[in-house]
Each structure stands twice: as structure tokens, then as C-alpha cells.
Symmetry: D2
């Protein structure tokens, strides 16, 4: 039995105390449960809906922040890259270098991440775009393979466009991506987002969606996902990005314990 | 802990030996696992793609067949109704009377089933249509409640239209239907169908979809479904209806054991 | 050049004065424009969301009402059938017998309508279901052809499920249905519906959708549709069914004139 | 009456003779028809499925190529920008600077294009992403407006994700974008793409889709689009990018004449 991998942390880097508190608690839980743990946070949110939204500390300050967390907690780090010329600096710190969903077909970015991540000995985490069929991720794997034949790749499901202002997770897609010969994770946090700012959906649904994160995580693990990608906060409603889908840190132990049991249940 | 309910059997009534063999084995497994079991089969497939497709024995012979199975196996029966004037005869035999997905908004059918099922002391199983949002099943529950205030209702998820010739199961819909105050089942067999006869999908996908049934069942149980709806056959490829999504009877024990473990895992 | 066919009238039969007023005006406009005209109204709305919704006068009174309109206006009639045993009586009055979208795969209904319509010398109008790909209507045409080889068939596009509580009209579907060798109409009235009763969509969108009817009609005619299906009312907001997508009768002349010009524009 | 705008040319810059031939013919047709004409070509295809696909001449050679076409034909130029640091150079040549669909939410790119295009006196053409509801383009307009309050913006519809490996154009979206106070174009060429490389769709559909381009263009103009975006080639099957949706140059006069007539038909 391979244990369930946990890539978890905060959406975007806020103050360092928050990173330490969240990372410390998540590491403790994962050690207790025997699950491999990777701390996750973004240094930049490059595609916020509004120009005035909080974007994070940026590349330089963000990587320094992540390096201190890595040292303090002694855990691997996962963060994302938005421009080709960020790839080298990120790969120097991050053990898992992430390609954002909207950008997963940008050849220059994929190639830069592939080369720099391989050179640094890391692994690539590809968020499958909301507009991409699971089997079409094979083109991304091929692009990476041509640029960097030895780098490891993980595919991440985070929902597909389902009409307007909604996503749906097709649990059969996890197996379709497994068929490409790579591990598959579920980003349960972003999969429950209601994209856009339409008043028709924003009001009624916000509250209910946070409750959807554990459901999508449990379902995906039951469907064979090898890892989960989750975002927490001490005070989720005060999170500076994606608050409506952010989980309270206090819920992490119960959720991860349940996910471990589900993993064991399906592995027999 | 409420145990997982199992509504399972064959797609459409074929010969009685098959019904007995499938029902006997499924009952044995459910007894061993401590799961409530209901035998399921249709007497008519009223919406096959082609006029020449096998439809089953029809109302009279089919209900007699089901009555003999009920007596021989001492199990409750679930079957579906396609016309209002079939409701009384079906409710006399079936413990769970099913409303087909395409027909779930036909008022006369819903009202007839509601009245006759209540009169006979049964329960109604509503397949949510492929074109219906989970929360919109509240209108069906309201129709049933106005016609027969005391009858029990179970809602069943069986996939939503997702582009052409494909369905997707939104695991968040299970909770949305639970919020209406009723139990929810997953019809994992029909949820993996690729609707239609398009040559673009029929060829490549048929094989892969049968493997999707256990995935959808596990995911839905992990998401909180109270029961599963599954179709088996001694020789699935020879099934007279919906062969591509039919499971071999020999796989039933492993699958139901896994589903029981998943149910326990999420119930803590 | 074949002129654009107009199947238009009211959603459901209300009082006979309304039918006469709407039918008289629509006939006058179509005569002026040189467009063939068919009066359309339903005698029963068999799948309303709520059991308390207005359903119409029913089969017997409704057909008598339609027969009087047919005689008074000297126009062909289009109405729909919901149960197999209604087919004969409807085909005796209606020149165009309609199969409702949700029911277009119910074999017994399709066969009954096919036989009775052929016997009565009518034509069948099939509403393509919201869950059906355009090319999969070939199975319905085949069912009709096996039951009644000489009856004429018209296919009608009325939107496809697009996420929850929304429909979308794929204009490429019109050509895909033409490829099956039959005329194709657009039901622009129902194509703009927002299915369901979800508060997230009902409020914000109701007003805006009525304005969508002419857009869908114009787009479909530009895409090659041979006819339009439209519902009008003297006082649309007071219509007893589907008020939000009902057009004012006073807008009919402008709309049909524009549609005629669009038809001519694409036919060169 | 505002005449229909035509943004048309070739997918990606190939040899200069092709650009001249296509641009000369399209300009001639538009002059004859009284339609404003803009030559369109990409210097880089930054998100091809495969790393080995042809990408074009790149920024420097491509802009030089476009500058020579602009001078030779005396027409405005439209081309797209893929990285923030390309914006200044592109805006110096292009009269219409385009934001690619996948990138339309990348804040840095949108801001750079907004500032440089305003400084150069150009206009921005935003391709609406396949994952974005029409009304959610208001956030892009707001981002542009905060960065460059005086620059003109045009929104372009190019299809929405509809299940896997398919797009659909919602004609009602054109009006929804008009409601934001900007002109709207239809990219009929990309709207008929079948995204991805799935063998289930690639084979059967390729041929039929090219025939879909004129249908989508006519439908969108009938729906109120102010302009069309189209790609042509002398030998479409030999086009180095997106051959299956490329139109033969020889079809341009008929198509644009028809579109002009449709525009006039709907404008009364």
C-alpha cells in the first residue's frame, strides 16, 4: 500500500506566522498518520478576477519566505510558476514545481519548468485546465518529456467547466490520467470553486461550497487518487484569497484521518 | 451507523434462471456483509434507442416473474413504471417503485405512482433526470407529497448531461439532495453510460466504461450516498440490454465489500 | 427558395378568444409575408414543475377547441401528444403532431404517434431532447420509419443541457440534423428557458431571457433552419405557462419580417 | 447602420507571399462590400498541443513581416501578445492588440497590453476564454480600465467548453457582452475547433467542422455581432496551424457577401 500524499498549506503567502502555524500543524498530523507531507503556498496569484485583489509577496520575497518555512519545518515545498523566467528560481527552492491550470498549454512555460525542475532534481505538478479532457493531458506530459526526459510528473484534477460559473469533477478522469502512467492528485479546494462573479451564483452558493471540499477529497481518494491538495487557514473567512473554499485548520486532522481510512478501504 | 443499502440485480428480466442465480448470490453476499438487499430488474425497457432492441417480458409476465423471485428469495423487489396505468399493478408486487429518469417530471405518472405506492405501503425511488439539477428534485418531492403525503421517497443520482454523448456525476449533488431530507442512492451502472449511438464515442469507450462502475460507486459512497444501485449478469457481454455497463456477478462480493469499507471509513 | 415555415401560437390553450386573436394576427402576418403558417397550442402541459401549475383544458376539450380554431382560421394545427392512447384523437385534428422533448425516446409513444399520424395523413414534429446529441435523433427517425414508413418527419432544436439550470443552442446541430434528410425547425421560445426553480437563476435572469427569443430565432434561421416555432400572448406576463419566455403578440410582425429577411440573406 | 467589421487573414505567419495574397484579396473584397478590414496573423502559436508543432517566426521576425504587410496593403493589423514584455513592441505595429483566450485572466499580461496599447493609440481585442461566462468578461474590462482608462476594448466570442473535446457558441452571450458597453466580434474559426487530440473525436469530425465556420459566423452576425474574425489560406489543408478549421480564400467573397446581407437583414 502506498500512503496517500498530502500537498497542503495556504492559498497565498500572507504573514510568516500563518505559514508556520499551518505548516507545523499539518506536518504533525501527517507524521501521526504516516502520510507524506508537502507544504504548499503561492507567492503570486497571477490571475485574480480584479486588479485590486491581493496577489501575494511576489517572487523574491515569496521564495525567501518559502525557504525559511522549508528550513524551519524540514518539509518539501510546492509552489507555482507563472512566467518562464521564474522557473529557475522557483525550482531552486520548491521540491514540487506547479504549472497553473490556465497556463498548462503554454509551451514556453512548460518547457522552462520542465528543464529547470529536472536540473534541480524536483518533480512537476500539473494542474489540468478546466477546459481540458483528462486524456488530453498526455500532450503536456509529452511536452515535458521532450524537454526533460527524466523529470517526474504528477497530474492534478481540479474540475472541468460545467456550464457557466460552475465546475464539476469527473471521477472517471482520475483513472484516465492514471492510464498515462503518472500519479494523480485531487485539488479539492479549487475544484469546488464557482468561477466568476455572477450575482446569480455568488450569493447562494458561497457558504455551501466550503462544505464541498471534504466531499470531493473523499470521493477522489475513493476513486483512486494518490494524493490530495488542500488549502487551510486559521481563520478561513479572513483568508486573503479564495476564502469561500478555504478550510479551517482545525478541521484538518479529522479530514486527513478520514481520507487515510478511505484510501485503506479502497486498497483492500 | 446506518448500513449501506444495496438495490441490485439485472437490467431487464431475461430468463428466470438468471434472475434466481443473480438474486441468490447478491442476497448471500449482502447477508454476509450485513447490508440490506433489494432485488432489482425491469420488466420493460421503454426507451431503447432502437425499435428492434429487446424490451423485456412486459407488465403481466414481468410482474409474475418478479413475484416468483420475491417468494423464492424472500427479498424486497424494485422495478420501474412507465405509464400511469401500470402503477397499481407494480405497487402490488414491488416494495420500491421506481420513476424512470426521463419521466420524472411527467405529473400524471408521478401522481399515479405516489398514490398507488402509498396505498400499497411501498417506497418510491426517483431517478434524477440527466437534465435536472440536484436541487430541482425538490419539485418532484413536492408533487409526490401533494399526492401521497405519507409515502417514503429515495432520490437516485445517475449522472448529468455533459456535452454530447457523455454523462458526469457531480458528487456535490448527493449532498444537495440530502438537504431535501431524503436518502440518496447512486445508480453507478447507468451513470457511466455514454448516451447515444455516435460512432465517435461508441467504439473507443465501450470497454473502458464498465470499469467505471466501481469507481463511481466508491466515490458516491465516499460522498455520503446511502445506497447503491447496480446491475450484474452471469455473462455481462451477453446481457440483452446495456451490456457495456453491466458488471460480472463474480465481481459483486469484492465490490460490495469495498463499498462497505468505504461507508465505514467515512462514517468514522 | 423555400419560404420559412412558421409554427406559432400560444403555449397552452387558455380561453378561446385568446386563441382566435393570436391565430388571426399571426395568419395575417404570414399571409402578408408569404410564409406558410401553422397554429400551435398545447391542450395539456404534462410535465410542469409543480402539481398546482395550470395544465390546460385536457385532451377532449382541448381538441374541440383546436378544431374550432382550425375551422375558423382555416390554418393547419400543431399540438403535442403525451400518452400513446392520445395519438389517434390528436392525429385526427392536428396536421402536425408533436413528440415532446422529454418523451422523444419512449418507444410506445413514438410508435403510436407514427402510426396514427401516417394514417391521418399528418406530419410529425419531434422536439429533440435536452439530453440528446443532434446526430442521435437518427434513432428516433428510424423508430418512426419502422412503424410508419411514409410519414413525414420534422426535427426541432430546443436547446441542450449546459451545466445546471441552463440550456444552450448549438447552431451546428441544425446542420447535423439536416444531414439526416429532414427539415429542421428552431423552438426559440423553449430554447431560452432556464430549467428548474433554483433561486440562483430564477431571479436575475427571467427578464432577460424573453429578449433572447428573437436572437435564437435569427441565429437559427441564419444557420439554415427551415422553420421557427414561437409562442406569443396578448399579455405575456399573464400567460398561464412559461410567461418569462413568451413574446408579446405586438412584436410578431417585426420579428417575422426580420426572420424572412435573414432567410433570404442566407439563401442568396 | 454600422457596417460589419472584418478581422481576417491567416492563422500564423508562414511565408510573406501567402500573407500578401490573402491580405490583398480580403482587402479587395472588403473594399467592394464597404466593410472595414483588418489583417490578422499570429507571429507565435504559444500553446500548441505538441512541442514539435510549427509556432511561427517569433516576435522580431514576425513584427517585421507584419509591418511590411501593413505598409504594402495599407491596412490595420491585428496580432496577439503572449508575454507582458512583448506588449510594447506589438503595440507599436498592431492597431488591434489581441489577448489570447487562455491568458485573458493573467493580470500582468492584461495590464501590460492595456498600458502599451493605450500609449500607442491602439485598440484591444480580448478573446473570451473557453472557461469564462460572457458576463464575467466585465472583470477583464475593469482590469483594462484601471490600467488604461482611455483604451478601446472589443470582446470576442470563440466558444465555451461543452463537455470534453467540444466547444459550443452560446449566441445569447453576444448580447450579454454588448451589455458591458463594448463591441463584440465572433471568432468563427476557433469556435468550431474540437479541442484536444482524442481519437474519439479527431477522425470523424475534422472534415465537418470547417463547414461549421460560415454557420457560426452567420448565426453570430444574426445575433448582433459587430464583427467577424476569420482565418483563410490558399490551400487550407496545407495550413501550418489549425488546418481543419481554415477556410479556402476562394470562399471569402461569398461568405463576406452573405454576412453583409445578414447584418443588413437584422438591422432592418
Amino acid at each position: 500500500h502506498t500512503p496517500l500524499a498530502v500537498i497542503a498549506g495556504i492559498n497565498v503567502l500572507e504573514d510568516e506566522g500563518l505559514s508556520l502555524e499551518v505548516g507545523t500543524e499539518l506536518k504533525r498530523i501527517c507524521v501521526d498518520l504516516g502520510l507524506p507531507y508537502v507544504f504548499k503556498a503561492s507567492f503570486d496569484k497571477a490571475n485574480r478576477s480584479s486588479i485590486t485583489s491581493f496577489r501575494g509577496p511576489g517572487l523574491k520575497a515569496g521564495l525567501a519566505h518559502l525557504a525559511r518555512i522549508k528550513a524551519a519545518l524540514d518539509v518539501p515545498i510546492c509552489t507555482d510558476v507563472h512566467e518562464p523566467d521564474q522557473a529557475k528560481a522557483v525550482a531552486a527552492i520548491a521540491d514540487i514545481v506547479q504549472i497553473p491550470a490556465f497556463l498548462c498549454r503554454q509551451t514556453d512555460l512548460v518547457v522552462a519548468i520542465a528543464r529547470e525542475t529536472q536540473a534541480a532534481g524536483g518533480v512537476i505538478h500539473v494542474k489540468k485546465a478546466q477546459f481540458l479532457a483528462p486524456w488530453d493531458t498526455k500532450n503536456i506530459i509529452a511536452k515535458i518529456g521532450e524537454a526533460a526526459p527524466d523529470v517526474g510528473v504528477i497530474l492534478c484534477e481540479r474540475g472541468s467547466s460545467f456550464g457557466y460559473n460552475n465546475l464539476v469533477v469527473d471521477m472517471l478522469g482520475i483513472g484516465a490520467m492514471h492510464d498515462l502512467g503518472v500519479p494523480v492528485t485531487i485539488d479539492a479546494t479549487h475544484a469546488v470553486q464557482l468561477p466568476g462573479a455572477d450575482p446569480r451564483t455568488a450569493g447562494a452558493s458561497t457558504g455551501g461550497r466550503r462544505e464541498g471540499v471534504p466531499i470531493i477529497a473523499k470521493a477522489a481518494v475513493a476513486s483512486g487518487a494518490d494524493g490530495v491538495f488542500l488549502e487551510f487557514h486559521i481563520d478561513p473567512d479572513a483568508a486573503l484569497c479564495d476564502a469561500p473554499s478555504c478550510l479551517p485548520l482545525s478541521s484538518a486532522r479529522d479530514l486527513l484521518s478520514t481520507l487515510k481510512r478511505v484510501r485503506e478501504a479502497v486498497q483492500g
